[in-house]
């Protein structure tokens, strides 16, 4: 399934929800990148307290209020976006980077290599997803990087499966048979001929997965296995605010939760759009 980028883009642009979502994600990403310029409270975004503003309610100065150490929540959200967004993306990228080569090898070589790799993915897929991530994150120690590694460790088998299935479908094509016939080495065939041909569905799946990855990462952070103080991601912010949520300080958890919710939704709409636009059979449902 090799798809022209141009026509995919054309169909994608017809999906209004996907376009709005892309716009939203772009602005969140820009806010994250340019946070130091965009907010007057950059230092607070990085963790510096201002106890005089402790638990300031939402108002003109702090539209989303301030947290228990008096830090502006808008700034915290912008700096938190750096971590939350990048965690979601990195998880998917790492999972693809690990899963795809394994899947290609399994699908291309077949035999016992295939059998072994597929049984290993069976094992990983039998875990309830968050549980394994929790165990791994606990084993590695709580940190941003380890959280990414832990989630990616639970995610790669999906891509291995997908890559394997795609490899099986292109393996028998004439040009690959031909390449094999003239003695091109397996590694070269896999890298030069198979990989480029199976990338589209993997990228589509990846777009669909980022939203879920952000949710899982937020879950890990929520139970304290993600980003560490003084930095915060959105999951940490919900967790910190929860203690005060029903005691009148509703703004602490509400806004970071909304941020996760809207971002995950945007990724899902975008992923959905990409999936439909890249698949000629689905396009008519547009």
């Amino acid at each position: 399934m090799r798809v022209e980028v141009g026509s995919t883009l054309w169909f994608l642009l017809r999906d209004r929800a996907a376009v709005i979502s892309a716009g939203f994600l772009l602005s969140v990403a820009l806010a994250a990148v340019f946070a130091p310029i965009l907010t007057p409270y950059a230092a607070q975004g990085m963790g510096d307290p201002d106890l005089s503003r402790k638990f300031a309610a939402p108002g003109i100065e702090h539209p989303f209020g301030a947290d228990g150490l008096g830090r502006d929540q808008v700034a915290r959200l912008m700096f938190g976006a750096r971590r939350s967004l990048s965690m979601g993306v990195l998880v998917v990228v790492a999972a693809i980077a690990v899963g795809t080569p394994l899947g290609v090898v399994a699908g291309y070589l077949g035999g016992w290599v295939d059998e072994l790799l597929m049984r290993v993915t069976d094992v990983f897929l039998a875990f309830p997803p968050l549980l394994l991530a929790i165990a791994i994150a606990a084993a590695l120690g709580a940190s941003y990087v380890n959280a990414v590694a832990a989630i990616a460790a639970t995610w790669w088998p999906w891509y291995a499966r997908l890559a394997r299935a795609q490899t099986l479908s292109v393996r028998e094509r004439a040009y690959i048979e031909a390449a094999r016939g003239i003695g091109v080495r397996h590694r070269v065939i896999m890298r030069r001929h198979i990989l480029p041909n199976i990338l589209t569905p993997i990228v589509v799946q990846g777009t669909l997965d980022v939203g879920t990855a952000i949710l899982v990462a937020a879950g890990l952070s929520f139970i304290g296995l993600g980003t560490q103080a003084p930095y915060a991601d959105w999951g940490v912010m919900i967790s910190d605010g929860r203690l005060y949520f029903l005691s009148g300080r509703w703004w602490l958890s509400t806004f970071p939760g909304l941020a996760i919710f809207l971002t995950a939704m945007a990724f899902n709409f975008l992923g959905d759009g990409v999936r439909v636009a890249a698949d000629p059979r689905l396009r008519r449902t547009l």
């Binding site: 094992v123 039998a126 165990a135 606990a138 084993a139 139970i223 949520f245």
Partner: protein
């Protein structure tokens, strides 16, 4: 393929998966930094106590020996004891697992009860306003962080409206004055079979909010899957022939098409069941729901690895069984798959 060979093949694969999960969990949990003997010894142990416990628990032995001991205990059906509470994990799980399953089953049940009809209608009327609204709901369902939704739900239904309790599985009054005689550990079932209706409604009252929150994800999945398979089913020739025979829209959608559409949707139930168990891990903590999720979350914070391993194994078994059940159900629903 007959039922027996089908089952045998699936079971042997499951056994392999189980062994893999066991090995993986065991070794991952043993590299967790921390000092399990110190944990077992309780608050602020003395060095000699820690040493004694290390020997008692066999933690001084090489890892592969520890593993063999664990496996032989496991074959006896013994999941070991918690290093934190020192309680038998079998006993703990006999309380916590039914609590989680009750919650997850309720959530998946709600998701299917609501999601399937919505998915059917959205699939029947593509590009209608209802279809678009449904897409929004479905995507919202799979995008909302469950732990955040739980907070918002508490804020609305407990703090603001006061309709539903904040957390717990049963009220204090119920457990004091009309306690449920534990049989299955599923409070609704236990209360119903003993005709303890006060306790039944009390338990139900406590179940609603966490179950609703937890149902968001499987609801989104159920809607999307049902919708997709409805669209596929409605394009089939037999639907055209049913229309040509003048059958009503209701019969066509909810009897003929649904039965065909439900099977792909059912496979996803297995998956969303697993996701819901995962979701329960976070939601249970917020609703003080005494289930496996809360149990394992605490175990992780305490590095209580016998509990971590046991929960992982048990939940994996539940997961495997659910998937097996879904496969069997599919086979039963589809006359084309012959069972024996």
């Amino acid at each position: 393929m007959t039922a027996i060979t089908f089952l045998l093949r699936r079971l042997s694969l499951s056994v392999f998966v189980f062994i893999g999960v066991l090995i993986l969990t065991f070794f991952v949990s043993r590299v967790i930094p921390g000092n399990p003997a110190a944990l077992y010894a309780g608050a602020r142990p003395r060095p000699e106590q820690v040493e004694a416990i290390k020997v008692k628990l066999g933690l001084d032995k090489p890892l592969h020996e520890q593993f063999l001991v664990y496996v032989s205990d496991l074959l006896d059906g013994d999941l070991g004891e918690s290093y934190h509470s020192r309680r038998s994990i079998n006993t703990d799980l006999s309380i916590f697992l039914p609590a989680t399953l009750e919650l997850v089953i309720a959530a998946v049940f709600i998701a299917l009860l609501v999601g399937i009809p919505i998915g059917v209608l959205a699939g029947a009327y593509p590009k209608s306003a209802f279809d678009y609204a449904t897409r929004l709901v479905a995507i919202a369902g799979v995008s909302v962080p469950s732990f955040w939704l739980a907070l918002i739900a508490q804020f609305i239904f407990f703090s603001s409206l006061g309709w539903l309790p904040l957390g717990g599985r049963i009220s204090r009054d119920a457990s004091l004055f009309y306690p449920i005689a534990a049989q299955t550990g599923f409070y609704l079932v236990d209360a119903a079979v003993s005709s303890n209706w006060d306790a039944f409604f009390d338990a139900l009252h406590h179940l609603i909010l966490p179950a609703l929150v937890l149902s968001a994800y499987p609801l989104g999945v159920a809607i999307r899957m049902t919708q997709a398979s409805m669209i596929e089913a409605l394009a089939e020739n037999y639907i055209t022939s049913a229309r040509a025979a003048g059958l009503s829209q209701r019969v066509i959608l909810f009897k003929l098409a649904l039965k065909n559409a439900i099977m792909p949707a059912l496979t996803v139930v297995g998956l969303s069941f697993a996701y819901s168990i995962t979701g329960a891990f976070l939601v249970e903590t917020i609703f003080s729901w005494p289930g496996v999720g809360k149990y394992v979350t605490e175990a992780v914070l305490n590095v209580d690895f016998p509990v971590i391993i046991a929960v992982t194994l048990v939940v994996t078994v539940v997961y495997i069984l659910v998937n097996l059940a879904v496969d069997l159900l599919q086979a039963l629903l589809d006359p084309r798959v012959r069972l024996g």
